[in-house]
Symmetry: C2
Subunit: 357 residues, 2 copies
């Protein structure tokens, strides 16, 4: 029996199976076996998180149905996995870790619901968005509800400074959303703005997941700080990969239409890079940013842009940067004791930049 | 020098001046003088709150400008006044009370920003709404920011169970918003739904303001609970009065166009009462709820509705109910020691149902 089938046979959550599979494919059979060793624990942890998320007591009201729409449909649950692994670096995964793991997924979903309203998005993860099912207003309130439920959970868990740090993190996320909004439809978006948005919008929550997970596992401040750095770098690597998949990914795998960012008026890193190399892209890009619904202009620009992203080396440069941040994430772990949890976090950092969805 | 001019001369906040003026007009000269006695303290407290709100360090970003638009324009500041008076029933107004007072106004403004997006409202308090100035997306994020800033403040203040209770309160508010949304544009909205919405959306925050203000002033649990009951009744009385002003108020004073609730698809208590007495109103009401933008239908229905609200005694019944809840609020204070703060709260309860804006 291979490592993969062993893990599969106990019904391990998808992400763990993938991690083992990835390690095997990368020739990391030693890691794969170590992961299998960890998988007994991790499997239970992830099952517990998934169970809590799927059986979460939502209000029997419009806001509850709206909040549950995407949440109960599943997802990668990458942030809860980060919490679990961070806790395992310490005393292990306990009820406090579970609260942190559920909370981080709730905050993530709160931002997805609000984002879909802002972007007027119709589908996500291959299903209709909450706002198309239940309306924009219900999605706003459902996002608010998920946020408050996350905060209540973290408050009850009473773990170190996790609540204070979560409030700071959410503020960072809001400021990043605001910055992104200010640069929406602006072809002159600087690289610096892209990275500030990626850090605030995506990476800050990964940083919190790692640091709070470590605190739940009883790790000391220095270790939690190192884990936080890991989370921050991982988050940027994750966002860079996400934005690249939006340009050159496989729709069937990502569950999202291609070029959604451009349609939503967002200049992501690969686009900024391609434009820097091909100034003549400015005019068509500006046109499609201003009027994405003008499909005649759009389709032509879309083809030109995708071609330019390949030809200018924007794909390579994005991947290179993502790998660099992934390596920085791994380097952040150097001060921490070696062991299966740390190796699993290394594998997470590696697979994050090589994923195809 | 009259009591009013005395208070005015020290530049007392508008609400305090009005309270004294109200007491004088009601022939409550003794109360007016007691309020003047209190006004030295209260004046400083309210000035401090107003100062903090107006100089609040908002992010130098779109989200900050959006959050400040309405907040820095002023307002009744009724909720902060409640906090100040509740604290004065105990050891007095301290830095913790100030945090609670600012936080309650921030939460209130967060809901206003989100409500205006949901209602697509163009003006509030006689000025344009944040969403017309900065857009719906910025208003959603600004509401989120205000909410998080309020929670951070309350957490830092470390007052009893104020943070836990605020999180519960915000959840109640969201559930009430959700219920209101479910009954939107429904002519068959039952009275019970109206009161559940009023309690959750409006009264729960008044309850928190009173209870947390009492806790900040060092009052014991029983006293804070009594103050909470006062806040709940006051909040319902306040909402009933608000909804009546929307039907029979003076636009120049309220700063809002009349019949906004009906245009927004909301059946308020006076409308529910009038419909109960005049079943023939069902059809025209349903028509205007379904298509408020059909101005030909609307204008005619608006006239009929306002007339019916008067003729069926809906105005009297609403005022009667508001006065009843105002009296229940006052009765909640009976167990508390008599004194100028308690009398001021009595005056607040009385004037709330007699205000014209």
């Amino acid at each position: 029996m291979t490592v993969i089938s062993a893990v599969k046979s106990v019904g391990s959550p998808e992400l763990l199976t993938k991690l083992v599979s990835f390690s095997n494919r990368q020739g990391l059979s030693e890691l794969a076996e170590r992961l299998q060793g960890l998988s007994g624990f991790l499997h239970n942890d992830l099952e517990q998180i998934e169970g809590t998320l799927r059986s979460l007591e939502l209000p029997d009201a419009l806001v509850g149905r709206t909040a549950g729409h995407l949440l109960k449909h599943g997802g990668k649950r990458l942030r809860p996995l980060c919490v679990a692994l961070a806790s395992h670096l310490g005393d292990g995964f306990n009820s406090g870790s579970a609260d942190i793991a559920v909370a981080v997924e709730l905050v993530h979903h709160a931002t997805l619901l609000h984002d879909d309203v802002v972007d007027l998005a119709d589908s996500r993860r291959g299903i209709s968005t909450a706002r198309t099912e239940y309306g924009n207003a219900a999605s706003i309130f459902a996002g608010d509800w998920l946020l408050i439920e996350a905060l209540r959970r973290v408050r009850r868990a009473e773990i170190g400074n996790a609540l204070g740090e979560l409030l700071e993190t959410i503020e960072e996320m809001i400021l990043a959303e605001s910055l992104q909004l200010e640069y929406r439809r602006r072809v002159d978006t600087p690289k610096e703005v892209y990275f500030r948005v990626a850090e605030g919008k995506t990476a800050a929550l990964f940083r919190w997941a790692m640091s709070a997970g470590g605190q739940a596992g009883g790790l000391l401040d220095g270790a939690c700080e190192a884990l936080g750095h890991y989370g921050l770098h991982l988050g940027v690597a994750f966002q860079l990969t996400d934005d690249l998949l939006d340009l050159v990914g496989d729709e069937a795998r990502t569950g999202k239409a291609l070029l959604t960012d451009l349609r939503d008026g967002m200049m992501t890193f690969p686009l900024i890079f391609a434009l820097d190399r091909r100034p003549e892209l400015r005019e068509p890009l500006a046109a499609v940013l201003a009027e994405p619904e003008n499909s005649d202009v759009a389709e032509e620009v879309f083809r030109t842009v995708v071609q330019a992203v390949h030809e200018t080396g924007a794909v390579d440069r994005s991947q290179e940067l993502a790998r660099y941040r992934s390596k920085q994430a791994m380097r952040s772990l150097e001060s921490l004791p070696d062991g299966v949890s740390r190796r699993a976090l290394m594998a997470v950092a590696k697979s994050t930049v090589r994923r195809n969805r």
